[in-house]
């Protein structure tokens, strides 16, 4: 192992060309794209799942087909097509980072919609009937009775999807977005004979990122779940 290999290039691995007046890159760009895409995917997925539960049959059918299409395309293809073919087909020129964020948000929202629908369905008709019997509207029942319980059930699915999303940002190299995997490739191609060290370091960074998120999420799940709380106090 050759520690200078990592220390000399550390700032490039972490921030890309940013400290030298270039665009943001490296781990920081991976974090930024993951953060924005996770939030967008969660909002869209929640909206999609609710629409699948509450929407009219027409809306549900349309959503189901959109989800089927998105789930049926490899992420790398969606990124590639959005980046190179949207400008050709519609004259829409979306920058690389935005393309990747949009593609990851859409595909993960498709998966999350199903998780949200399943989470809502798991609550059971009794709770719905109870809400309606109290004089609440369907939407109020959803907001006050069903969602607070459903979200707890869905949380593990959300964490799964977030971790997957973080790892999928590495596909951005296909359109030249300088995230962690791409800058590692650049350093590796210059140094030539240390792929093991370089990609091991990169893998550790990804692992820390994903493991950190999982631990944090598991912790919040515990605080949130009244049963765990009860168990702790007992």
């Amino acid at each position: 192992m050759n520690p200078e290999l990592i220390t000399d290039n550390l700032s490039y691995f972490l921030f890309g060309a940013w400290p030298n007046g270039g665009a943001m890159g490296g781990l920081l760009l991976t974090l930024w794209m993951s953060f924005v895409a996770c939030i967008l995917a969660s909002i869209l997925g929640l909206a999609g799942g609710i629409a699948l539960t509450m929407g009219s049959p027409g809306l549900r059918a349309a959503l189901e087909s959109a989800i089927a299409v998105l789930r049926g395309i490899p992420v790398i293809m969606l990124i590639f097509w959005c980046y190179f073919l949207l400008p050709v087909l519609f004259g829409l020129n979306v920058p690389g980072v935005a393309t990747v964020i949009a593609a990851l948000a859409l595909i993960n929202a498709a998966y999350l919609s199903q998780a949200v629908r399943a989470g809502l369905a798991a609550i059971g008709p009794g709770q719905w009937h109870a809400g309606l019997a109290l004089g609440l509207t369907r939407w109020k029942t959803l907001r006050l009775v069903i969602l607070p319980q459903g979200l707890r059930i869905m949380l593990p699915s959300f964490i799964n999807q977030w971790v997957t999303l973080i790892k999928d940002t590495s596909l951005a190299f296909i359109v030249g977005v300088p995230e962690l995997t791409m800058v590692s490739g650049q350093v590796n191609n210059r140094e030539q004979v240390y792929p093991l060290q370089i990609y091991l370091f990169t893998a550790i960074l990804y692992f820390l990122l994903c493991a950190g998120l999982s631990t944090f999420a598991r912790q919040s799940e515990r605080w949130w779940n009244p049963r765990h709380k009860g168990a702790r106090h007992a």
Partner: protein, 268 residues
């Protein structure tokens, strides 16, 4: 699939006609977006000292941006993305070891050549002496390069394995996945010169072709092509082209290589 691509191409041609001249757009935006390699020393690579992309092709892109009087924005590319970047309007030009071929000229326009090379090979010392030995070998190439096309066409008995980039192909050679890799000789000589294990390998004594590299430009941008050509001629006249060459291939560099082609020379 094919039909969709054709429709896409037709649409791009129509929209291309409707758009303003690209040179005007570049001036208006104040930025020239040049696609360059980020992983291929010494043409375009990440400079370890400055942590910026630098190289011979990058210097040509800089000269063109200076000529227009705008800022230069580098768009990193691999070999396979060069034509898509131009076709989708993501880059205004490609300065990335781009060999001029008739097939490519159907999709993009080229400036006059500013660099000449030939397709050669890197293999273990003594393993590859003549082109006949290529039959039955596994040879690594870069996806979407002229070497890939040439080997698949003319050497059907050679197993061609396509990689994303030359250093990756070289890694495959080191690991024994392939027995040789093929690229432009200038690039191979520079690659080998920087390799820590260079004593084990050598560049083949024979070349399969003579190739000329030019600046790739979007189809039909005549004013931009004229400006790039004019810049290249001026660089040669002022001696700047030789200086650029010497910075990367001159006698004091790690990969000295005699300059056997000047801008404006007759091509074979």
């Amino acid at each position: 699939m094919k039909k969709a691509l054709l429709t896409a191409l037709a649409l791009s041609l129509i929209s291309g006609l409707a758009m303003a001249d690209r040179l005007d757009d570049i001036k208006k935006n104040g930025v020239l977006r040049a696609a360059v390699f980020d992983s291929n020393p010494p043409f375009g690579f990440l400079d370890g000292k400055t942590q910026k992309i630098n190289g011979l092709d990058v210097e040509y892109a800089e000269a063109i941006a200076k000529k227009i009087g705008v800022k230069l924005e580098l768009v990193p590319t691999n070999p396979a993305n060069r034509i898509p970047l131009l076709a989708s309007g993501k880059a205004d030009l490609v300065a990335a070891n781009f060999t001029i071929t008739d097939e490519r000229a159907k999709q993009v326009d080229f400036s006059q050549p500013y660099f000449a090379t030939g397709a050669r090979f890197i293999a273990k010392k003594g393993a590859l002496k003549t082109a006949e030995q290529l039959s039955g070998l596994r040879v690594g190439v870069d996806k979407g390069t002229t070497q890939e096309i040439l080997l698949r066409d003319k050497y059907p008995k050679t197993t061609v394995v396509a990689y994303d980039d030359t250093p990756l192909a070289f890694a495959a050679l080191r690991n024994g996945n392939v027995q040789a890799i093929s690229q432009d000789d200038a690039k191979l000589i520079a690659l080998l010169a920087q390799a820590p294990d260079k004593t084990k390998y050598e560049v083949s004594p024979f070349a399969l072709s003579r190739e000329y590299e030019g600046v790739g430009l979007p189809k039909g941008e005549t004013r931009l092509v004229a400006l790039v050509n004019e810049t290249l001629v001026q660089l040669e006249k002022s001696g700047e082209a030789r200086k650029i060459y010497d910075r990367w291939f001159g006698p004091k560099t790690k990969a000295p290589l005699a300059r056997d082609f000047k801008i404006g020379d007759k091509t074979e």
